[in-house]
Symmetry: C2
Subunit: 237 residues, 2 copies
């Protein structure tokens, strides 16, 4: 390999490292946003909720950096084959992370609808779903950033757990609203919060799939152990 070729190889790696740094920053910010939203929810803390709602634009800025860096890499290095697929996959991961942050901000905004109300009974189960989504997300981020296929497969296998928890929670909130119609407004906010948390779990699973692809070059899609019945009962997207 000539010195010129070595220089090009090193530069591509350097550009990739910048892309990965951007993604790592995006993961960190988004984990903090999800943690903030759950804290705001658990403590019905309006100031914390407002901070999360406001913080969403930092994640958006991060996504723009990742996108610019991707365009830079494509323009300057014109990667092909596996390298190209890896760069485009990073762009897709960024889209998923940005969606997670959107869901966290939505949860935070809903906290305003719950303020000055007694703690609704299903809150405990909502927070349990939140904790699970948070764990799946952390694992998927770690698996992705460390290109650890085994860790990613473990997240992927747990998708059903979040789906099942969401389905039972949906029924619990409905029952709660029927037993005490004064809780209908609060219950409807809880339903959307639960949906946001379940969607965070879905995005974690998407990111895990992409992490497997990045570390092995093979896809997992099509084999996803998706609980179709639950999505029919309680709606998917």
């Amino acid at each position: 390999m000539s010195i010129g070729e070595q220089h090009i190889v090193r530069s591509f790696d350097e550009e990739l490292r910048r892309l990965d740094d951007g993604l790592a920053r995006m993961c960190g910010l988004t984990e903090a946003q999800v943690a903030g939203a759950l804290k705001a929810l658990a403590e019905r803390d309006l100031a914390a909720a407002a901070r999360v709602a406001e913080g969403d634009r930092l994640v958006d800025e991060c996504e723009r950096f990742v996108e610019e860096q991707t365009l830079r890499l494509l323009a300057l290095r014109a990667p092909v084959a596996d390298d190209l697929r890896m760069v485009v996959t990073c762009l897709k991961v960024a889209t998923n992370i940005e969606r997670v942050a959107d869901h966290a901000a939505s949860c935070a905004r809903r906290v305003l609808g719950l303020a000055q109300q007694p703690t609704p009974a299903p809150m405990r189960a909502v927070l349990r779903l939140g904790l699970l989504a948070q764990q799946l997300l952390k694992e998927s981020f770690d698996a992705f950033l460390s290109r650890d296929a085994d860790r990613a497969r473990a997240v992927w296998a747990r998708d059903q757990e979040a789906d099942a928890l969401y389905s039972s929670l949906f029924r619990e909130i409905l029952t709660h609203m029927m037993e005490d119609p004064r809780t209908i407004t609060v219950g409807s906010h809880l339903m959307f919060i639960a949906k946001n948390l379940e969607r965070i779990g879905d995005h974690a699973t998407n990111i895990a799939e992409m992490a497997v692809f990045l570390s092995t070059g093979r896809t997992l899609s099509g084999e996803r152990p998706k609980n179709d019945r639950s999505s029919f009962e309680s709606g998917a997207a």
Copy 2:
């Protein structure tokens, strides 16, 4: 220009045309999915709902084609500057279209929860929101496929209309549930359907923004006339 260069130029346009054909097919399928979901909803037609739920994978296949074609274009032609930005924007448009189709499929699945129930009073307003979302979507697709910036700007300016309709609908469904707690289950499905329809309008606005960018090279983001208060009241994502 040498014959060799002419050949390369023509080939790039040819590859672009294939990418655009894929996107046009994806737009057509997705419009049909949204129309099918609204019809299933209006007529509480379970067979039609099942067809839409099943048809979602055709849109997913289309998205995979667009992605493969994008990778092919990037690998074979290594576009730079404006061409590169255009290709990556097409990939982002495809992501938005796929999300629209997901929302249509979710609406269709919810129809199962409404079956064998009397028509709930807020259904009329839900269908009105559906019609608006469908119009915004069609306009955004046409603007994008014909690279018509004026048409795209018109979609973009109407985003607030869908947001306002959704907010008033959310309150109407809540009131309906409170007045007659037997409608709580149906009402909660209607809420999620309304949210799906409002999200379709959001994606239409995103696509319109990208259409403006593709025809003018300038972005609209940041100036979006977003009704922030309504999203605080009734949750965003």
